[in-house]
C-alpha cells in the first residue's frame, strides 16, 4: 500500500514538473521572441489601463522581453525594481530550496530575509510604486 502510494505520488510529481517545464519553455520562447509593447496579445495592467498610473509591477512583461534579449538597460527602463530584485530573488529561492543549511547560511538568511530585511523590501516596493509616477523619475 505504502509503496503504491509512493509510486503514485512520484508519478504525479513527474507529470506536474513536466507540465511546468513545458509551460516555462513556452513562456521563455514567447517572451524572448515577441515584444509585449508591439502586440495586443499580452495582458495589460488593469491599474495602468484604468487610472493611467503605473503600479510596481507595470512594465515587467516588457522588462522580461528585454532581459531575455540581454538588454539590461532597456529592462531597467521598463521596470527597475524587477531587474534589481533578481539577485535577491535567486538567493532567496536558493535558501528556500536548501533544506539543510550550514550555520553560516542560516546566519545570512536571518540577515537578508529576516524581519528588518522584509520591511526594507516593503519600503522599496512602496517607494518605487510612488516615485515612478512622479516627475522625479528619470526613466520615463
Amino acid at each position: 500500500m505504502q509503496q503504491q502510494h509512493q509510486n503514485n505520488t512520484n508519478r504525479f510529481a513527474i507529470i506536474k514538473w513536466t507540465i511546468i517545464a513545458i509551460i516555462l519553455v513556452l513562456v521563455v520562447f514567447i517572451y524572448k521572441n515577441y515584444n509585449p509593447s508591439n502586440s495586443n496579445y499580452f495582458p495589460k495592467c488593469p491599474v495602468l489601463q484604468t487610472t493611467g498610473y503605473k503600479c510596481a509591477g507595470c512594465g515587467s512583461q516588457r522588462a522580461v522581453h528585454a532581459l531575455l534579449n540581454l538588454d539590461i538597460k532597456q529592462a531597467m527602463y521598463y521596470n527597475l525594481m524587477l531587474v534589481l530584485f533578481i539577485p535577491y530573488l535567486v538567493l532567496g529561492a536558493f535558501f528556500d530550496l536548501k533544506k539543510i543549511k550550514t550555520p553560516k547560511q542560516q546566519k545570512w538568511q536571518g540577515i537578508f530575509y529576516g524581519t528588518k530585511a522584509i520591511w526594507i523590501v516593503f519600503i522599496i516596493v512602496i517607494t518605487f510604486w510612488v516615485f515612478r509616477n512622479t516627475s522625479f523619475w528619470i526613466w520615463n
Binding site: 508591439n38 495582458p43 509591477g57 512583461q61 532567496g92 529561492a93 536571518g110 530575509y113 522584509i118 516593503f122
Partner: protein
C-alpha cells in the same frame, strides 16, 4: 497533522528549529507579475513569519507561514485567471485584434 511531524518538532528554545517558509520570494513575484495588493499582503505576511520566529514563537510562525502560503496561492490563481480570461477574450475578438495589430505595424 501527522504529515507535518518534521515541521512541528519544537525544541526547548525555538531557535534550534529552522525557520518556516516565509513565501517572500513568491510574494515579490506576485507583486511584480500579477497583483500588487496581493503581493503586498504576502510581503507583510512574510514579516509576520520572521518576527514570530525571531521572538522564539515557532508555533506562531508556522501558523503565519500557512497564512502567507494561502495569500500567495490567491495571488497565483488570480494571475492565472487573468491570463486565461485574457486569452479567451483574445480568441473571441481574435479577428479584430489581428487586424488591429496588423494596422499598427505598417
Amino acid at each position: 497533522m501527522e504529515n507535518q511531524v518534521d515541521f512541528t518538532q519544537t525544541t526547548e528554545n525555538g531557535f534550534k528549529e529552522t525557520m518556516p517558509k516565509t513565501w517572500l520570494v513568491e510574494s515579490i513575484l506576485v507583486t511584480l507579475f500579477c497583483c500588487l495588493p496581493l503581493g503586498i499582503v504576502g510581503i507583510i505576511n512574510a514579516s509576520n513569519v520572521t518576527s514570530k520566529y525571531e521572538a522564539g514563537d515557532v508555533a506562531g510562525s508556522q501558523k503565519a507561514s500557512e497564512e502567507a502560503k494561502k495569500w500567495v496561492k490567491y495571488g497565483f490563481f488570480a494571475g492565472l485567471a487573468v491570463a486565461v480570461l485574457y486569452i479567451i477574450f483574445i480568441v473571441i475578438i481574435g479577428g479584430g485584434a489581428i487586424a488591429a495589430a496588423a494596422s499598427e505595424q505598417y
